[in-house]
C-alpha cells in the first residue's frame, strides 16, 4: 500500500498506521478512505493528496 502526501502541508498518510484517533483503522489504503476524509493537519480533502514519490 502506498503512502500519500498532502500537497499543502506535507502531512504523510501511512496506510500501515491509519489514523486510529480519527477512526481510521491501521491497514486502510488511501484509496479506501471515505470521500469526507480531510488532512488531519491542514484540513484539505483527498484531492490535494499525491502518492509519495
Amino acid at each position: 500500500m502506498k503512502k500519500y502526501v498532502c500537497s499543502v502541508c506535507g502531512y504523510v498518510y501511512d496506510p500501515e498506521k491509519g489514523i486510529p484517533e480519527e477512526g481510521i483503522a491501521p491497514g486502510t489504503a488511501f484509496e479506501d478512505l471515505p470521500d469526507s476524509f480531510v488532512c488531519p493537519v491542514c484540513g484539505v480533502g483527498k484531492e490535494d493528496f499525491e502518492p509519495e514519490a
Partner: protein, 386 residues
C-alpha cells in the same frame, strides 16, 4: 522613525501598530508590531516586511541605515499579509532584490499577488551567503501556515522565527529585558492559544528541529525580541504544545434571564468542592480570545446556553466555532442550559463538544428557573462525575 540596532550589522526596521485591537477576531488589547529586520553585509538582506499601510514607517527606518534600493535579498518567512504586505512596494523600491521563500511560500506569493516575478524557493537546510554571513532556512509547515519558515543566522546566533514565539504587543521597547516579563509572557500565551494552538504537534517537531541550534536571540515577527528569557519562552512552548492539562475548569456561558447563569455558578461550586481551580466566564463580559487563553491548560470546559428560537445563543455558537477551530485536545466537557420549551440548545452544545473528541459529562438542562432542588441535583451528580 529610527531603526533599532540588534547587533553591529543587524537592525529592527519594523513598524508599531498602536491601534490594532482586532486581529481577525482576536482581541489584541495591547496593539502589535510587524517586525522586519535589515542585515548589512556585502549583500544586503531584508527579513520579512510589514503590513500594507506601514510600509512608509519601515522604509523610513531602513533609510536610517542604507538606501532601500540597495537591498539584494528579501527573505519572506511567511506570506500572510501582515508580513508580506509591503513586498510589492519593496520590489519597486529595490527592483534588483530577489525574494526568497519556502516552496509553499513561493506558490502563495505568486498566487496572492498574481506575480510572475522570480521567487527563489528554498528547502530545509538550504543556505544563503551574503559575504560573511550565511543564513540557513528551516521551513516549518503549519507553524502556522503551510508556507511558514524560520531563518537562522549562525554567526550571530539569531533565529528569525517569524510568527512563532511572537506576541501582539505594541511598545517602543524592542527587547525582553526592557519590558515587564510577565506582560510579555501573558501576551505570548494569548498568542499561542489563539494562533498556534491547532498546530501543537508541528510545534513539537519544530522545537525538535531547533533544539540543535545555539540561539541567543529570537527575533520574532510580532512584539518583543527575546534575548534574555529565551529558555522561558522555549519551555513555555514545550508546555503549551504538550496539551497537558491542570486541575482547572472553565464554565463558559451566556444567559437570558439568569437561569443558565445560576447553573454556571452551581457547576463552578461542584468543581471547587473537588479541589479544582475554576473560571466563570460570561460571554457577555469576556472576549472569546481571552477565554481561549484560559482554556490552554484547563482540564474541563463546560458550556452553557439557554435556548433561543430553538437554537443556542449566537454568542455561544461563535465561541464554540472559534474553539473548535483552535482545537484544544483531550479535554473533558459538559453542556448545560435552561429553556422554556424545546431546550434544543443543550443538545446542540453537547454535540459540538463531543465532535471535538472530548470526554463528555452528562448534560444538564433545566426548564424555566432552576430551583434549589434542581441545582442541588446538578451539583451532587457533578461532584460524583468529576
Amino acid at each position: 522613525m529610527k531603526p533599532v540596532k540588534i547587533t553591529d550589522n543587524i537592525y529592527w526596521v519594523g513598524a508599531v501598530d498602536w491601534n490594532l485591537r482586532n486581529f481577525h477576531g482576536y482581541l489584541t488589547q495591547r496593539g502589535s508590531t510587524y517586525n522586519a529586520y535589515l542585515v548589512i553585509d556585502d549583500k544586503i538582506t531584508l527579513i520579512d516586511t510589514v503590513k500594507e499601510g506601514f510600509t512608509g514607517e519601515m522604509l523610513e527606518r531602513i533609510a536610517g541605515v542604507i538606501d532601500p534600493s540597495k537591498i539584494d535579498y528579501i527573505i519572506s518567512n511567511h506570506s500572510e499579509m501582515d508580513h508580506s504586505g509591503s513586498l510589492p512596494e519593496m520590489l519597486m523600491r529595490a527592483p534588483g532584490a530577489e525574494i526568497i521563500a519556502s516552496a509553499n511560500g513561493e506558490k502563495n506569493l505568486k498566487e496572492h499577488f498574481k506575480w510572475d516575478c522570480k521567487v527563489r524557493a528554498v528547502k530545509a537546510g538550504d543556505t544563503l551567503n551574503t559575504g560573511k554571513y550565511t543564513f540557513t532556512f528551516v521551513p516549518e509547515p503549519m507553524v502556522h501556515w503551510p508556507d511558514s519558515m524560520v531563518t537562522y543566522l549562525e554567526a550571530e546566533k539569531i533565529l528569525f522565527s517569524n510568527d512563532a514565539f511572537g506576541q501582539h504587543l505594541a511598545t517602543s521597547e524592542r527587547f525582553d529585558d526592557e519590558y515587564s516579563p510577565d506582560i510579555i509572557m501573558e501576551e505570548a500565551r494569548k498568542y499561542y492559544a489563539n494562533i498556534v494552538l491547532p498546530y501543537s504537534p508541528q510545534v513539537q517537531k519544530a522545537l525538535n528541529d531547533l533544539s540543535g541550534l545555539k540561539i541567543e536571540t529570537i527575533a520574532t515577527s510580532h512584539g518583543i525580541i527575546w534575548r534574555r528569557n529565551i529558555s522561558r519562552i522555549i519551555e513555555a512552548y514545550k508546555q503549551w504544545s504538550s496539551n497537558e492539562v491542570q486541575k482547572k475548569a472553565l464554565i463558559v456561558y451566556d444567559t437570558m434571564w439568569h437561569s443558565t447563569e445560576k447553573m454556571a455558578e452551581t457547576i463552578a461550586a461542584a468543581f471547587s468542592e473537588q479541589g479544582y481551580n475554576y473560571r466563570i466566564l460570561s460571554l457577555q463580559q469576556n472576549h472569546i480570545s481571552d477565554i481561549m487563553t484560559e482554556l490552554l491548560e484547563a482540564e474541563y470546559i463546560c458550556v452553557g446556553s439557554p435556548t433561543l428560537n430553538n437554537n443556542m445563543l449566537p454568542t455561544v455558537a461563535a465561541f464554540l466555532t472559534y474553539m473548535r477551530g483552535l482545537a484544544p485536545k483531550g479535554r473533558k466537557a459538559m453542556a448545560f442550559g435552561s429553556y422554556g420549551w424545546g431546550g434544543q440548545s443543550v443538545k446542540q452544545v453537547h454535540e459540538i463538544l463531543e465532535s471535538c473528541g472530548y470526554q463528555m459529562l452528562e448534560s444538564a438542562g433545566i426548564k424555566f428557573r432552576p430551583d434549589d432542588e434542581a441545582l442541588k441535583k446538578i451539583r451532587e451528580s457533578l461532584i460524583k462525575a468529576i
